[in-house]
């Protein structure tokens, strides 16, 4: 198997005593992300199915604030950059920069979540709750689920910062950060789909 891997990764994975040469943790994360595609696929499809089925009350499309959501999307995209820089930092053995970039990622994620809370509050004040109609229900469940994923990601990042401060994430354990990074980038790609399919396409 090792000879099918690029040389650099073969070196990195050489210490994993698995038949694939990939650590079980990394494999499990990719398997989880593949299965999460099905979960978000179901939620996005449900929204698409119900988007024009509201019989009463305002619909999400009539209340969207696209400039605001665009800024939120930009913030989440930039958090993917800081996450990638965090992974690169620990792979170089730079623990100080690892903490800086992980904290930046958690901060950007928190800004995104703050924006989502503001958006939800604004929708509820204007008369659209999860129970208003099927469209609003599908919208809140989808974006709420995504928000929960981002929140869990923030907790994961803060745990990593805490572990790093205590010196428990040396360069040899860079894969731990890489795995957390995979999860973080995944919530970003899910938002890329939600932003286009739910917000931008009429």
């Amino acid at each position: 198997m090792a000879d099918t891997l690029p040389a650099a990764h073969a070196h990195a994975d050489a210490h994993h005593a698995t038949s694939t040469g990939i650590s079980n943790e990394k494999m499990a994360m990719w398997a989880f992300l593949a299965s999460d595609c099905l979960l978000f696929g179901a939620l996005i499809s449900t929204y698409i199915l119900y988007r024009h089925k509201a019989v009463a009350g305002p619909t999400p499309h009539s209340l969207y604030d696209i400039p605001f959501t665009s800024v939120s999307s930009f913030v989440l995209l930039m958090s993917s950059l800081s996450m990638a820089l965090a992974v690169a930092a620990i792979q170089r053995g730079d623990e100080r920069r690892l903490r800086v970039w992980l904290s930046t990622t958690a901060l950007l994620g928190s800004v995104f979540i703050g924006g989502q809370i503001y958006e939800f509050t604004s929708f509820i004040r204007r008369g659209m709750t999860i129970k208003t109609n099927v469209t609003s229900g599908a919208f809140f469940v989808l974006t709420g689920f995504h928000g929960v994923h981002v929140t869990l990601g923030i907790l994961m990042l803060l745990s990593l910062v805490s572990l790093s401060i205590r010196g428990k994430i040396p360069q040899a354990k860079a894969e731990v950060v890489e795995i957390a990074g995979l999860y973080w980038h995944f919530v970003d790609i899910v938002w890329i789909i939600i932003f286009t399919v739910i917000y931008l396409i009429p």
């Binding site: 090792a2 690029p6 073969a10 070196h11 990719w30 593949a34 595609c37 099905l38």
Partner: protein, 117 residues
């Protein structure tokens, strides 16, 4: 492991393997500036998407929006998640799940008559 570290006679410099290893290393661990450039590209694509939203909506706009979305998705998965440079097994695992999800839900939405052609 022997195939990864071919035996070279003492004092002999294996230039071909050294260059190959350096290229692989750069691909697997790109410099920070490359990540910044990728993020800038993603920001530009997002700006184009938002610009398209304010244009008159028609099928062409929707198709372009979906293409831009797929492009952004691929860039994040390929570069930020390193799937382009990682083991083919991981690629197959993730792409398999993705194809399964897209197929299942496309068929479901078609059955409910969501798409009008």
């Amino acid at each position: 492991m022997s195939d990864l570290h071919p035996t070279v006679a003492p004092g002999e410099f294996d230039a071909e393997h050294a260059v190959e290893a350096a290229l692989e290393e750069r691909r697997a661990h790109p410099p920070d500036s490359e990540y910044v450039l990728i993020a800038l590209g993603l920001a530009v694509l997002t700006a184009i998407e938002v610009g398209l939203y304010y244009l008159k909506s028609n099928y062409t706009t929707i198709v372009v929006l979906l293409i831009l979305m797929a492009l952004k998705f691929s860039i994040v998965v390929g570069w930020f998640m390193h799937l382009r440079f990682d083991s083919p097994l991981l690629r197959r695992l993730f792409v398999g799940g993705l194809i399964l999800a897209v197929s299942v839900y496309t068929v479901t939405l078609l059955m409910f008559g969501v798409f009008h052609f």
